[in-house]
Structures are given as structure tokens and as C-alpha cells.
């Protein structure tokens, strides 16, 4: 995953790295892009100077390697195990519908006809809309807190942002249903319907609940996550970066854009991926606000449905074998789409970072 480009910005310490005992390069390659890669170096330093402690340290290293490797393997095992179990359980549905499951819009438990397309559409659309709303806002919040706000104000606001990330989603859902949806229906949606009703996005009766409501509540929910991570990443940008930009005559905005944003680009993408993950998997608040109707409509007013919410809604009472396995296949598809979107996002970072080369740290 970690590309050489991501490694480049970090100050390299070739001498000390070489002094590290067995398999030196493996360590840094594992490390994350945003993290300072100093720990290994500290360990390696005294060891090279004192041959007496060599065996003890190597035992410690082995233990550490085995334990950490074991923990990493657990993650892999869980992921593979989940995919395996879901594939097994989804087999009747896979056999009955084949690839048609992914492109069919039927969902009829009475006639045992199932297709995932409206749910895929709903999940992807609501999550991407939420990102489109939340990312610019989150970048603004994080820049304000790291670049402009000073002293207690910054600390209080930063704390509040992190606090928002800890609110359970059912609370967001209740707030959405009882406050946001009626407001949305009587305010913005009524206005849009009156003035822009000719656009396909604003056709139909506004209910408050629907795609727009779900996207908005998701945006509110992922906003603190993205802002909090971006804020940490921005704070990690060395002071010298900003000062260099300012010394060259850059304005505050220019220094933020050139020195902070570009330096923190991979961290920002990490934050966005986290937000996307939460949006894709969010169940409760979305169920309460999306209208739960498996249809594909261009209108943002129209109710829709998502993969996570159909699972939460129908799993408990599903009794037919095919019905149950179709629901599990939906879970499997959600799993796959989450992986695909993550890979896509990482590939995008790779490309952009590649294009800009190692400019940020140079």
C-alpha cells in the first residue's frame, strides 16, 4: 500500500537504518504514511553501540514481531473469515440469481425475487453526496482550528468537534426525523421544489425524509470524524513549512493551501476514507431518514434504500431460506463495495501524490 512517494517526504536516516539488525527495511515499509517513523531508529541506536545487549534485544524484537504480526494476522483472518462465511451463507441466492442479482431491481419476499441494484445505488449515492457536503466543511473547520484560531477558542472548538464524533447514530437519527426532516420539507425542499422543480433532482413531493435527508444526516455524522482527523494531520505539519511559505510572501490562505494542504494530502485522504467508511456502513440514522423504498430515482426528494438499512430492517423477520441468503448476499456486496471504494480512494492518492512528486517535504 505504502508507496515510495509517501515515504519520500519523511526525513530519511540512511545511516541508522542500515545499523538495524535483521530485515531492517521491513520495518519502515510497514509504517503508516502520516506517522513519524522515529521509533525504530531509537531502538536501533544504542543496540549498534553495545554488542553485549544484542541477544536480549533480538529476543525482544522477535517477540514483538511475532505478537504484532499475530495481531495483524487476526485482522486478516477476520476479514477473510467474514467473506468466507457470508459467501457460504449467500450460496443459495448466488446460485439462484447469479450476476443478475447486482443489476436487478426486484425485491419481493412474497415471490422470492431479489436484486441489489436499488440498494447499491442508495448506499453509494447517499455516501458520495454526504462526502461532497462534508469534506469541504471539514477542511474549513480543520484549517480554522489549526491555522487561524488561537488559545482557548481553538481548544474548546477542537474538543467539541471530537465530542460530536462520539454521539450515537440513533440520536442523530431522532434529531433528523423530528427536527431536520420537517424543517427540510417546509424550508429548503419547498423552496427548491417551487423554483428549481423543473430539474430532475428536485421533482416530486418533498417528504423531508428521502435521499436528501439521508445525505444531510450522513454529512453531519461524518463531519466530526473527518474534521478531527484533518485537524490532527494539519497540526502535524512542521511549523517550518508554513514559515517558509510566509517568508516567500504567501498570504495566510496561500500558505495554508501550499504548505499545509499539499503536505497533508495523504492524511486528508485518510480522513476522507474514514468518513466514507462510516457513511457506507451507517445504518440506524439512514434507516430513519431515507424513506426505505428500494427505487432508483434522480430526485433528491424521493425515498431510497441502502444495503445496510435493508439488512437492519429485514434480517430479523426473514424466514425463507432464499430470502435470508439474498440478505446475506447484500451484506457480501456491501463488503465488496467498501473494499472497492477504499482501493479506488487509495489509488487516487497514489496518483495525485505521484503527480506532485515529493514537493511537500522537499
Amino acid at each position: 500500500m505504502t508507496s515510495p512517494h509517501l515515504q519520500a517526504p519523511r526525513p530519511a536516516r540512511p545511516g541508522k537504518r542500515a545499523a538495524r539488525p535483521p530485515k531492517g527495511p521491513a520495518g519502515p515499509a510497514e509504517a503508516h504514511a502520516g506517522e513519524p517513523g522515529g521509533t525504530a531508529v531509537v531502538q536501533a541506536g544504542p543496540g549498534a553501540a553495545d554488542p553485549q545487549s544484542h541477544p536480549r534485544r533480538s529476543l525482544g524484537d522477535t517477540l514483538f514481531k511475532v505478537a504484532a504480526g499475530g495481531f495483524a494476522a487476526v485482522v486478516l483472518l477476520i476479514a477473510v473469515g467474514m467473506a468466507w462465511v457470508m459467501t457460504q451463507a449467500a450460496r443459495p441466492s448466488i446460485r439462484a440469481f447469479g450476476l443478475g442479482f447486482l443489476v436487478s431491481s426486484a425485491w419481493d419476499p412474497v415471490r422470492n425475487a431479489y436484486g441489489a441494484l436499488p440498494y447499491i445505488f442508495g448506499t453509494v449515492t447517499s455516501s458520495l453526496l454526504a462526502l461532497a457536503i462534508a469534506v469541504p466543511l471539514a477542511l474549513g473547520i480543520a484549517s480554522f482550528l489549526s491555522e487561524l484560531a488561537r488559545g482557548p477558542l481553538a481548544r474548546v472548538l477542537g474538543f467539541l468537534v471530537e465530542l460530536l464524533a462520539a454521539i450515537p447514530s440513533v440520536v442523530y437519527g431522532l434529531w433528523g426525523v423530528f427536527l431536520m426532516a420537517p424543517w427540510l420539507r417546509n424550508g429548503p425542499q419547498a423552496w427548491l421544489s417551487r423554483h428549481l422543480g423543473f430539474l430532475p433532482f428536485f421533482r416530486g413531493t418533498p417528504f423531508g425524509v428521502g435521499m436528501m435527508g439521508a445525505a444531510l444526516i450522513l454529512a453531519v455524522m461524518i463531519l466530526p470524524t473527518i474534521s478531527a482527523v484533518c485537524l490532527e494531520v494539519f497540526r502535524a505539519v512542521p511549523r517550518a513549512q508554513r514559515e517558509a511559505a510566509l517568508a516567500l510572501g504567501a498570504t495566510r490562505w496561500e500558505s495554508t493551501r501550499m504548505a499545509v494542504f499539499s503536505y497533508a494530502r495523504s492524511g486528508i485522504v485518510g480522513a476522507v476514507i474514514l468518513g466514507l467508511g462510516r457513511a457506507l456502513g451507517e445504518t440506524m440514522a439512514v434507516t430513519m431518514l431515507i424513506g426505505n423504498r428500494p427505487q432508483i430515482s434522480a430526485s433528491l426528494f424521493a425515498p431510497a434504500h441502502t444495503m445496510a438499512s435493508v439488512l437492519a430492517n429485514e434480517f430479523a423477520e426473514a424466514s425463507g431460506d432464499l430470502y435470508l441468503s439474498a440478505l446475506i448476499e447484500i451484506g457480501l456486496v456491501l463488503f465488496g463495495i467498501t473494499i472497492l471504494l477504499n482501493i479506488l480512494a487509495r489509488w487516487l492518492v497514489w496518483r495525485t501524490v505521484g503527480r506532485f512528486g515529493s514537493t511537500p517535504a522537499a
Binding site: P182, G208, N313, E314, A316, E317, S319
Partner: protein, 357 residues
């Protein structure tokens, strides 16, 4: 090497200690506590009543303990099929296919639930009159405005606004939906053909909301809506509900009494296994949208002690337990149904001899 031994030694001794502890526990904790403890799982719809039952029954019979998980009817059927619980609970009766996988399973009706049509229409505070065909047409999306001639014909003298109807239905699978769609399938061939009945169906129109509270929330906040919730929910939350025309042609308000009357009217067509739909029954005062909820038990009980506790509890539930139903807005079983269920409970056996003496 030496470190290997050092690391291994304590681990194996700890393992041995754990093992011996487990053995002691297994030896020390046999039957007495487990004997009077039953586990069940299933339907959420009767859960408020069931939890009261288990509570009261445990108080009246010290040492007896019944655990129930309201995981949904589908889950209840799965668990009783796999025999991971002592009894299951389901709103819809099991299908032939499901019974095939759980041979010897009995259906024990416990109470009757009713489903109420609720609405939110400015200017029509309560008592809107509807019949089955009209409700079906509304939920099919054929009647789209409140002042439709069909609605108006049923409500002479009521000024209905020219407002669009927004249908709200359950998005989660539920026994409530099963009863409601069962009713619509009985009264409208168009509904039976296009949609059918199940705990969750392919709704032609409308918004989906999770749970009774979700449907109620949408109906409350959205003007022009119509939806359905269970009787208890409509009553305790004082929702605006409609009277529905029954088979005898009378408009009946939903109530516990009208629901029990409906079940009494259906006795004549009760099959031997008690799996029956009682929607739209005959009877002048019968409320037409209702259905039994069932406990699922095996006739042949593997464990005699547990089986006896279960049989005694079931007997108690269809007699003493019935008195607790009405305050919670569940309709008690009418006497003719009770005597049918008595026979079922008496048929429970273990090792060839009956459990209830």
C-alpha cells in the same frame, strides 16, 4: 531453548488449572438450577405481554425462570427448528416447508393482535370510515387523493380536502405487516395478485419507516399520511385511527373486545393444527384486521423436567395469563379457542407419557 521451556511451563500449568476448574464447575453445577429454566426466542410483537407473563409466572412459581429474546418471528422459527431454544414465538404460523424441517412442532395461539389504520388529515380529527377495498386501493397507489369519490362515498358529511395521500408502511419485517397484508389480500384480489402477504412485501407506493414508532412518527409529522400500527401502539399514543367496515357491513372501531369477537367468529374454520388466518371474519361486532400470535413447541419434549415446566406454563398462559392481556391491548383468546388450545397443551409428552396430569 531454555527460554522456550520457561515460557511453556507456566502456560501448561495455567492450562491445567483452567481445565480442572472447568471440570469442577461442570461437576458442581448440574440439574437443579437448569431444571426450572426455560429459554425462548422470537416475535417482538407480543413481547410486552410475554415479558409480563414470564415475570408474573416466575413470581408465582419460585425457582422457575423463563428467558425470552425478542429477536423477531423469523429468528424464533429458525431457533426452534435448530432446537437451540425450548420454545419459539412467531406471529405468522410456520409454512408447510418450515414445518417439514421441524417435524412435531405445535402451534399454541396465545393472544390476538389487531392492526389499526392511522392517518393524519387536517380537518378530519377522528373516525374516518374506510372499507377493505378502499384501504387496498390506497396502499396500491390507485387512490391518491383524500377527496377521491370512493373515500367520500364512505364518509358522507365529512369534508375531505383535495390533498395527496402519502402512504407510510413498515420498512422492517414484522408480524404487524403480516396481519395487515393478510387482510388486504383477503379483501382485494388486486392486492393479492400484485403484492400478496408476508412479514415484508414489495410495497407499490409509500415511505418505509422502522417499527411502530417509526410509522407513527412519520404519520404524526407528515400531513396527508395514512399508515398502520398495532392496536396497543395506536391506543397508548392516542393516534387518530379509522373505523373499518367488516364482513357484516358494519364500521367497527378497533378495540380489544372487537378483536376477541373476531377470533370467536373464526373458530368454526379452525384447522386441527390451529394455523389459521382470522382476518375479515363474520360477526357484526368483529374488527377485521387481526391475527393470532403463536408459541412454537415440540410435542415430544426431550427433557422431562423442562417439558413439565413448559407445559405448566402454557396451561397458565392460556388461563390466568389471559387476564393480563387486555390492559396491554392484546385481545384474550375467546373461550372456544381456549378449549382447542387446552387439548394441544395436554398433548405435550416426554418419553411416551403426557406431561400434564
Amino acid at each position: 531453548m531454555s527460554t522456550d521451556i520457561l515460557r511453556r511451563a507456566p502456560r501448561s500449568s495455567a492450562l491445567a488449572a483452567l481445565l480442572s476448574l472447568a471440570l469442577t464447575l461442570a461437576a458442581a453445577g448440574p440439574a437443579p438450577a437448569a431444571a426450572a429454566s426455560l429459554t425462548g426466542a422470537g416475535a417482538t410483537f407480543p413481547y410486552p405481554l410475554y415479558s409480563k407473563w414470564f415475570d408474573e409466572y416466575a413470581k408465582a412459581n419460585p425457582g422457575t425462570n423463563i428467558n425470552y429474546q425478542s429477536i423477531g418471528s423469523g429468528g424464533g422459527i429458525r431457533q426452534i427448528t435448530e432446537r437451540t431454544v425450548d420454545f419459539g414465538a412467531s406471529d405468522p404460523p410456520m409454512t408447510e416447508e418450515q414445518i417439514g424441517k421441524a417435524p412435531g412442532v405445535l402451534h399454541i395461539p396465545t393472544v390476538i393482535g389487531a392492526v389499526v389504520v392511522v392517518y393524519n388529515l387536517a380537518g378530519v380529527p377522528a373516525g374516518l370510515k374506510l372499507d377493505g377495498e378502499t384501504v387496498a386501493a390506497i396502499f396500491l397507489g390507485q387512490i391518491t387523493s383524500w377527496n377521491d369519490p370512493k373515500v367520500a362515498a364512505l364518509n358522507p358529511g365529512v369534508s375531505l380536502p383535495a390533498q395527496a395521500i402519502t402512504v407510510v408502511h413498515r420498512s422492517d419485517g414484522s408480524g404487524t405487516t403480516n396481519i395487515f397484508t393478510d387482510y388486504l389480500s383477503h379483501v382485494s384480489t388486486a392486492w393479492a395478485k400484485a403484492v400478496g402477504k408476508s412479514t415484508s412485501v414489495n410495497w407499490p407506493v409509500g415511505l418505509g419507516a422502522k417499527g411502530n414508532e417509526g410509522v407513527a412518527g412519520q404519520v404524526r409529522t407528515l400531513p396527508g399520511t395514512i399508515g398502520y400500527v398495532e392496536l396497543a401502539y395506536a391506543m397508548t399514543n392516542k393516534m387518530t385511527y379509522a373505523s373499518v367496515r367488516n364482513r357484516a357491513g358494519e364500521f367497527v372501531e378497533p378495540s380489544v373486545a372487537a378483536t376477541t369477537t373476531a377470533a370467536a367468529g373464526a373458530v368454526s374454520k379452525m384447522p386441527a393444527d390451529l394455523r389459521v388466518s382470522i382476518v375479515n371474519p363474520p360477526g357484526k361486532h368483529a374488527y377485521p384486521i387481526c391475527g393470532f400470535t403463536y408459541l412454537l413447541v415440540y410435542r415430544e419434549q426431550g427433557n422431562r423436567t423442562k417439558g413439565e415446566v413448559l407445559a405448566k406454563f402454557l396451561w397458565w398462559a392460556i388461563h390466568d395469563g389471559q387476564r393480563m392481556a387486555e390492559p396491554l391491548y392484546y385481545a384474550p383468546l375467546p373461550p372456544p379457542v381456549v378449549s382447542l388450545v387446552e387439548a394441544k397443551v395436554k398433548s405435550l409428552e416426554s418419553g411416551g407419557s403426557v406431561l400434564l396430569k
